[in-house]
Amino acid sequence: MQDEESLVRRAQQRDQGAFAQLYEEYFDKIYRYVVLRIGNETEAEDVTQQVFLNTLQSISSFRWKGAPFSAWLFRIAHNQVVDYLRKKTRQATESLDESLIISKSDPQLVVEKKLDIEQLMLATKRLTKAQQEVIALRFVSELSTTQVAKAMGKSEGAVKALQHSAIVALRKVLSVG
């Protein structure tokens, strides 16, 4: 992808080609983030679409002030997810099949058995909101630590500590079930 800053500036001037490039670059990442955060692939589709429509409407308000475009975009996704979860607090967790929880006592077996997305969605629900956020941004959407820090409004050190605690917690959930 060409220089993201110039691409974003062109998109702000309603350059359709630039918008299309940004869309293609981030579509899968945002979708995966939303799937993991809300735990429902079908409803994640609606939320993902809304994220990009919101981006389209508000891109003129984006300013380059040290934070990358990705951080801003994932903030929009985060807000959309929070909004969704607020409306469907209970439904979001009930939609997951509780039987999917892994009940292996050996963590080694868990990773060897190959975790699937449903199991992962269920397991992450047992983490704190901040841990869920860092897992989704860092491992699912594959943002760098710097980008995650900007998106979450935390220092890089805090994000590193959070990702450590998140992996430990996730491993514990997967092993206990």
């Binding site: 918008f19 869309y23 389209l56 080694q108 990773v111 975790l115 997305i117 699912v140 590193k160 990702q163």
Partner: protein, 268 residues
């Protein structure tokens, strides 16, 4: 505290290495003293990454892309509805008409059946643009776009058979533009609260309800028919086409399915 912070840095470095294609073993070899602590965490991180590599369903991807481009077009058309926008479009139309007149009626007629690999094809596209600009009502434009979409599908089938992937992509883009415009025109009409009628239908004020229903029904029939026929024609082409154009044809099918569905939804 210091030790913990160092460990977090090392863990982060190893995770970054994994993202870039490194292995757990390589990382453990770099930090043998921390291997026992690092290994289970890195295994979990790898498992999470592998589990989360999910792809959006192709239908959803096509629909979402379509909706995004529709929104983009809608914003664009709002801008271009300004006085200067209209003025520019009319200047373009007049210029193109002038050029076409110079080229001669015979050229225009000959171009009307040309395919994308024909030198006269740009004349055909220019003629279509003029028709579109000079069509006064949105409903008329929507009908014209449907006919143009029909032409584009025929061109895609033809050019795919000739094994010209680049030209297939160009025509698919035009098909997408037509379909986006159809839904946008229908949605625009409904948002304005105006009635979907052709100009001749607008004369019969007494029969407004009946005429409005007829206009909408005719448009729906046309769209519903193409919604079946166009993907079917493209699927048939897909079976016979060379491998190099198959990805483009699959995209064309997804675009046509999503495009017509969107148009029908806009009519509801």
């Amino acid at each position: 505290m210091k030790k913990s912070r160092d460990f977090n840095d090392i863990l982060d470095e190893c995770l970054e290495r994994l993202v870039k294609g490194g292995t757990i073993e390589e990382c453990l070899a770099s930090y043998p003293d921390l291997a026992a602590e690092l290994e289970p965490l890195l295994q979990t991180a790898v498992a999470v990454r592998q589990a989360s590599v999910i792809q959006p369903h192709p239908d959803f991807r096509a629909k979402a892309r379509y909706q995004f481009h529709s929104a983009l077009q809608a914003m664009e058309s709002k801008k271009s509805r300004s006085f200067f926008g209209w003025q520019r479009r009319w200047v373009t139309a007049v210029t193109v008409v002038f050029v076409l007149l110079l080229a001669g009626g015979g050229t225009v007629a000959a171009a009307s059946n040309s395919m994308p690999d024909n030198p006269l094809y740009p004349v055909k596209l220019a003629t279509e643009q003029v028709q579109l600009i000079l069509t006064p009502s949105d409903i008329g434009k929507a009908r014209l776009c449907l006919r143009l979409a029909d032409r584009r599908v025929a061109e895609i089938v033809y050019i795919a058979n000739k094994n010209k992937p680049e030209q297939v992509e160009n025509v698919i883009q035009r098909l997408d533009n037509h379909l986006v415009m159809i839904a946008s025109l229908i949605s625009g009409q409904r948002k304005d609260g105006s009635i979907l009628m052709v100009p001749s239908e607008q004369a019969g004020v007494d029969n407004d309800v009946h005429i409005q229903a007829n206009g909408r029904v005719n448009l729906r029939i046309m769209i519903a028919s193409y919604a079946i026929n166009h993907p079917a024609a493209l699927r048939a082409a897909l079976e016979k086409s060379p491998d190099s154009v198959k990805p483009a044809l699959r995209r064309a099918i997804a675009i046509s399915v999503a495009g017509y569905e969107k148009a029908l939804m806009a009519l509801d």
